[in-house]
Symmetry: C2
Amino acid sequence: MSSRVSDYVDGARLWQRLMNLAAFGATPTGGVRRLALSPEEIAGRAELVRWARQLGLMPAVDDISNLFLRLEGTQPNLPPLLIGSHIDTQPTGGKFDGAYGVIGGLEAVEAIASSGKRPRRSIDIVAWFNEEGARFAPGMMGSAVFTATRQLAEIEQVVDRNGRSVRQEVDVVLAAERELPRRPLGFAVAGYIEAHIEQGVLLEGAGIPVGVVTGIQGKRTFRVEVFGEESHAGTTARAARRDALASATAIYRALQDAMNDEADEVRFTVGMLTVSPNAPSVVPAHVVFSIDLRHHDPETVKRLGDLIPEICEANRGACTVSVRPLLYDPPLTFSADLRMRLTAAAARIGVPTMELLSPAGHDARYLHYVCPTAMIFIPCRSGISHHPAESITPEHATVGVRVLTELAFELANE
Amino acid sequence: MSSRVSDYVDGARLWQRLMNLAAFGATPTGGVRRLALSPEEIAGRAELVRWARQLGLMPAVDDISNLFLRLEGTQPNLPPLLIGSHIDTQPTGGKFDGAYGVIGGLEAVEAIASSGKRPRRSIDIVAWFNEEGARFAPGMMGSAVFTATRQLAEIEQVVDRNGRSVRQEVDVVLAAERELPRRPLGFAVAGYIEAHIEQGVLLEGAGIPVGVVTGIQGKRTFRVEVFGEESHAGTTARAARRDALASATAIYRALQDAMNDEADEVRFTVGMLTVSPNAPSVVPAHVVFSIDLRHHDPETVKRLGDLIPEICEANRGACTVSVRPLLYDPPLTFSADLRMRLTAAAARIGVPTMELLSPAGHDARYLHYVCPTAMIFIPCRSGISHHPAESITPEHATVGVRVLTELAFELANE
């Protein structure tokens, strides 16, 4: 019998589970549409619970529907180690964003159990509620509430486009999973490890299979509403119009100009824009759009984000505008100790690593406020994610989980 | 007994019917949402049929669901006179656009019947299918098919946003009205009169209660699709993006610049714009938007409309774009003979009139291709229409119908 838990990682089993989970919400183009709290996600969670029970893990859920699958340690009263990510996707997402961290965690735990060794601390595999923020904005709600970064009472009231609230839809999930024990929100944890696809091209470009994530770039999001007045497209003179789309477009262009850095490091996106009444012969009365702004430098994130309200106001034309800040997550740096130990764990099983920054947000952001946190990246083809073409290789998937398994076992024994 | 049919117009009864019809699809803000072929419109049509039967009129429907309510003349084999408009509304429409022409026609016919006189020709009050084009674009489908300007087979295949086709939804209406006799599409007609709110401010500004419409400005509509590529808002560099909304916005701005005439006579509107996948943290892959272009001068309509494809192409950035022309209605002039007779009919009952151009399209456009056609405008407050605040006075409503009744009786006796 080998002396390393990572030797028990079964790449074929890992890949099979990734493909099986991708069937829940599979789209004709090879992607996945598994929105938070959708029937597809509920069905995917049920599959996770079935797998967990086969492995002898203990499933549990908390009040915001974070799902936990526990491998009990020899000292179950110690705070557990958490490994995980999320299984919700964007409306036109892929198979691996989020899913890799959860299924990878399951494989790591199965490898540890198969090795005949048992860690001191329990290990919880966690699937956080609503990381993507596609249906209920902003994202990372489950980890935010778990870490008390945001309040349950506030999150519960967020509604989707059909007016359904987080509370209503979480209750649907909890009813579907009523046989699972309920955990309190935000129990003490010893550490958190999240494995994820890079969503960038650095690992691919360098030919390195595993990234040690140094931190996450800063992110601010806003919701802008432009209020004009409906009028008849055939009769209303331009001077008499209060066209919400014309104003929104002028605002958008001015924002683009302001965010346009030569180094191309600012990430500025208007991904959502909705027009009312949205009829070809009616001058639009109302436009809502999202702003997503990211950068690795705290000063830049602050400065550019602070410009947004005044740019909106200066370009509103005949309409009125309101700007609501939704999220302000400054850039962060992960625990230097865990980064070192992650690099060492990879080295001892012969896996080359490189350090890199995460351009995307992850649940690890919130966990790092409450416990030592590490993130492991694996390459994804051409950096494509949030897209049906999202792709990884079985080899990279396996190597990433082997490193994860080594680090998890080490941390769970402390 | 008076010698004039217009003396039998009952303004209170007219107003009461306008208010009763406005209850079908009434919104909390005082407007009306009665989309073509919606349950609200079907219920409104049933109310029209009830009223018609009380007056001894004969209801009938054709294959595209145009609704006819016939007062039989003394020589029923002569082609009938048509009076009407439509009862569908914009998604956030008002009480009078369209409804006034149909209810006004009903009142005119009731006045004629009450006078004890009977016209030679039958008079059909008509409610045309889908004038607004809000749910199924473009509008004026019923009159276009009736006049063979467009083909039934083509119109039937148009789908709404939920993928329901005109054919499917018309069949729902026809099933609800299966007890009504079916008329062939496009029978011979002797003339058409449409009474309508002005949707402009000329009558209000001049203090004149009735407008004699000289013609309708030209209109071209287009559907533009921009195809980009989904990518992650946090990871994708600006240079690597193919952002469909960024390209659509650049196109929109360039179109605005090209259409921006100093005289403010060009009517250029993007009223509908839809983003996919429309998620805050996904770079948009696909945008569809509408273009509505109108002007009174045929050369200008042609020249500006012809510019649109090249402007879209020149500003598409990293995306691709397709431009589909939907509608090209050149400016038109109504029958000079009927305009003279309309003016004379108003004069003989002491109603001042003025001539004016219709900036909006109406079913009268298509009818004028097949028969002498006249339009009567009444003032609407501040020119507001396609809006819950759309407003007319009972006095203007009554005066307009008195003129309509005079002209209708005269034409129906020829």
